[in-house]
């Protein structure tokens, strides 16, 4: 059986952690993988730590990433890197706000989608598939900014134009 890939997305309430994992999970599912996504819905109150997980492969059982076995850790808030670092396996990929061209972003609300774009570089899925699910999960009036944000993240920091 093929290996299951583990992704953890972390940040603070209100940053769109759950939205990013929804898009991620749906894109991978659409690409034909078995996918499970897990999160603990906190309370309504904003500002607490939030993390959510996606596992994909040929067959996924537990929806929770085993401790210390995250292959890709995406952290949307710099203050949350340290508390989540123990989730990453040795040699795993860490993506933080420092690794993405955040300064070039027009609308800071799309930061989560920009970071998703950065993560998408690690998977062999076509850009259209990602954008399809970005759009499906967001209201139409913000499609344009989020598509731009995704592309910016996917292009990478200091990349050639």
């Amino acid at each position: 059986m093929g290996k299951v890939v583990n992704i953890t997305v972390a940040g603070l309430g209100g940053q769109g952690v759950l939205k990013v994992t929804d898009i991620l999970a749906e894109a991978l599912f659409d690409a034909g993988f078995d996918v499970k996504k897990s999160e603990v819905h906190g309370m309504s109150q904003r500002g607490g730590s939030v993390s959510s997980e996606v596992r994909f492969g040929d067959r996924v059982f537990s929806p929770m990433v085993p401790a210390g076995e995250t292959d890709y850790l995406l952290v949307l808030d710099s203050t949350q890197v340290e508390v989540n670092l123990s989730k990453l396996r040795a040699g795993g990929v860490l993506i933080t706000p420092d690794d993405v061209p955040l300064a070039e972003l027009e609308n800071p609300k799309a930061a989560n989608i920009l970071m998703l774009g950065a993560l998408s570089r690690h998977f062999d899925l076509p850009e259209e598939l990602w954008l399809k699910h970005v759009c499906r999960n967001l209201p139409e009036k913000v499609h344009e900014v989020n598509i731009a944000a995704f592309r910016l993240g996917r292009r990478g920091k200091n990349a050639d134009r």
Partner: protein, 527 residues
């Protein structure tokens, strides 16, 4: 091509209810159960929020008396509130399919306790199904309606936080289970639980459970992975998924119906392996049942009764590892939002040095800094009543400092009884109740309630007016204010009422900042 969807356990239950010809879904919000009815409504089904879980279950029972299919949803502690009708409807049963969803919260992601509601199935004598993923949540819900009708008994569908909120693949079977036609048939022996009929009904119930145990032995709800004979695992719910990752080589017996148990199948499985471990979250109910039946199994160590299981913890259980576990990294705790209307109220209560009998909602967070203003929190509705108890017991100077705070949704849930108690058994020093009316059920994700003027699907509804209710019960003073807008006005009223021997209700009214945005959108016709 059959379409596959990626959905949560709660979304799967909603789909199953609709594919079973649901007549009405009714419940009271509570994490992790709330999305079930929200999805029923979003998909075009009939769903409503009741003021509390007892009311919800009774409405559901009525639907099922009329031979409609009804699903009643709540979080685990909600079943405590609904326990009274549960125990007796187990005796009489209903002609229509009645499915009760109990969403348990091992680990207390968002709850005041981690009670294990499998005990309710045993105590009430109601069959229980436990899905382990979204597909099973769907399949088991459909079968639950059918079993409920075939055996004329309510069925408990036990979910847990992980199964409710995790997403996985789902293939639907539209019109899988056509619902019987709605019809009322008078049958007093079955439906009127006077002692003479209830004595008969209790015997019938025990006979039904024996039949259900035989049915469970047949294996429809049993799944077996044939692996090594060195290690056998008996698992239920989410523990099954963890077990497959933690010990892919093991033989596994997964039980989907966990009451009444298929003890002969369990016995046979255990006899076929060298070592047999029972994996279950929460209380060691299954392990104890096996041991009581003389089946040689190993349960988990006591330390694993607490919290959720995970792949890592299952590995430890299988290895017999009872060394202390690493504490999970402490993240940033949730806080009252900046601009939350509860903030100002708590600042005043803190500055006044009140003893605050608290309740459950966003406003429980007033216990944390910078407020540290909440003194007690037991269960929904308990603020008014525990506050009264303290007023009765404490010496006068202390009694005068006691205030009860309660949210609007919680007030309508089980707070009204407390006001009745207050008027009837009046403390010598009177009492002060503050209703924190943010015009929404915020804590559980912005659900409507009878005082918001909107139904579950956010369309307009008649409004229960809180001040009219408390006035009608007979309190001495009812004041309405907005501490955020005019802190001194609120503080002045509070000071005066605390000094008097009167019964006072102060309604601190200002919408939750997150709900206010939504309320505007609903007014404009959006959802």
């Amino acid at each position: 091509m059959i379409e596959k969807e990626l959905v949560s356990g709660n979304e799967a239950i909603a789909r199953a209810a609709l594919d079973s010809g649901l007549c009405l879904g009714v419940g009271y919000p509570g994490t992790p159960s709330s999305e079930i009815l929200e999805n029923v409504a979003a998909l075009g089904g009939q769903a409503e929020w009741a003021p509390n879980e007892k009311v919800a279950l009774e409405v559901g029972i009525g639907v099922a008396f009329a031979r409609g299919r009804s699903i009643v949803t709540m979080k685990h502690v909600g079943l405590n509130v609904a326990a009274d009708p549960l125990f007796t409807i187990a005796y009489s049963g209903t002609p229509g399919g009645l499915v009760i969803v109990s969403a348990d919260d091992p680990g207390m992601a968002s709850s005041q306790n981690e009670q294990d509601n499998r005990r309710y199935a045993i105590a009430a004598g109601v069959p229980m199904l436990e899905p382990s993923d979204s597909q099973e949540a769907y399949d088991f819900t459909i079968r639950a309606f059918e079993l409920a009708e075939r055996y004329r008994c309510p069925v408990l569908l036990r979910m847990t936080t992980r199964v409710c909120h995790s997403k996985g693949a789902l293939i639907r079977r539209p019109n899988a289970s056509p619902a019987p036609a709605i019809a009322y048939e008078k049958d007093v022996q079955s439906n009127v639980m006077i002692p003479a009929y209830a004595r008969i009904a209790h015997r019938k119930l025990r006979a039904k459970l024996a039949e259900l145990a035989r049915f469970n032995e047949e294996g429809e709800f049993i799944h077996e992975d044939h692996g090594s004979s060195e290690l056998g695992i008996i698992a239920t719910g989410i523990s099954y998924q963890h077990a497959r990752d933690a010990a892919p080589e093991a033989s596994v017996l997964k039980l989907g119906m966990t009451y009444p148990l298929p003890m002969e199948r369990i016995r046979k499985f255990a006899a076929g392996v060298k070592r047999c471990v029972v994996l279950e979250e929460g209380d060691p109910i299954l392990a104890e049942a096996c041991l009581a039946a003389g089946v040689k199994v190993e349960g988990k160590a006591e330390m694993y009764r607490f919290g959720e299981l995970s792949v890592g913890r299952v590995r430890r259980i299988l290895a017999g590892d009872t060394t202390p576990e690493a504490a999970p990294p402490a993240g940033k705790p949730p806080q009252l939002c900046v601009g939350c209307p509860h903030r100002r109220t708590y600042e005043v209560l803190r500055d006044f040095g009140c003893i605050v009998a608290g309740d459950i909602g966003c406003y429980t967070l007033g216990v944390l800094p910078p407020f540290e203003a909440v003194d007690t929190c037991v269960c929904m509705g308990a603020s008014i009543t525990t506050g009264l108890g303290m007023r009765h017991a404490l010496p006068e100077a202390e009694a005068r400092r006691v205030v009860s705070v309660i949210g609007d949704s919680t007030f309508l849930h089980t707070g009204i009884n407390g006001i009745v108690e207050m008027v009837y058994n009046r403390p010598k020093t009177g009492h002060v109740v503050i209703i924190l009316d943010n015009s929404i059920t915020a804590m559980t994700g912005m659900q409507e309630n009878p005082a918001t003027g909107r139904k579950l699907d956010h369309t307009p509804a008649p409004k229960v007016v809180i001040e009219d209710v408390v006035r009608a019960i007979g309190v001495d003073h009812v004041d309405i204010c907005d501490p955020t807008l005019d802190r001194e006005h609120f503080a002045g009223i509070l000071k005066e009422r605390l000094a008097s021997n009167d019964l006072s209700v102060i309604i601190a009214r200002r919408p939750c900042i997150l709900a206010a945005v939504k309320a505007k959108a609903y007014q404009l016709g959006g959802k």
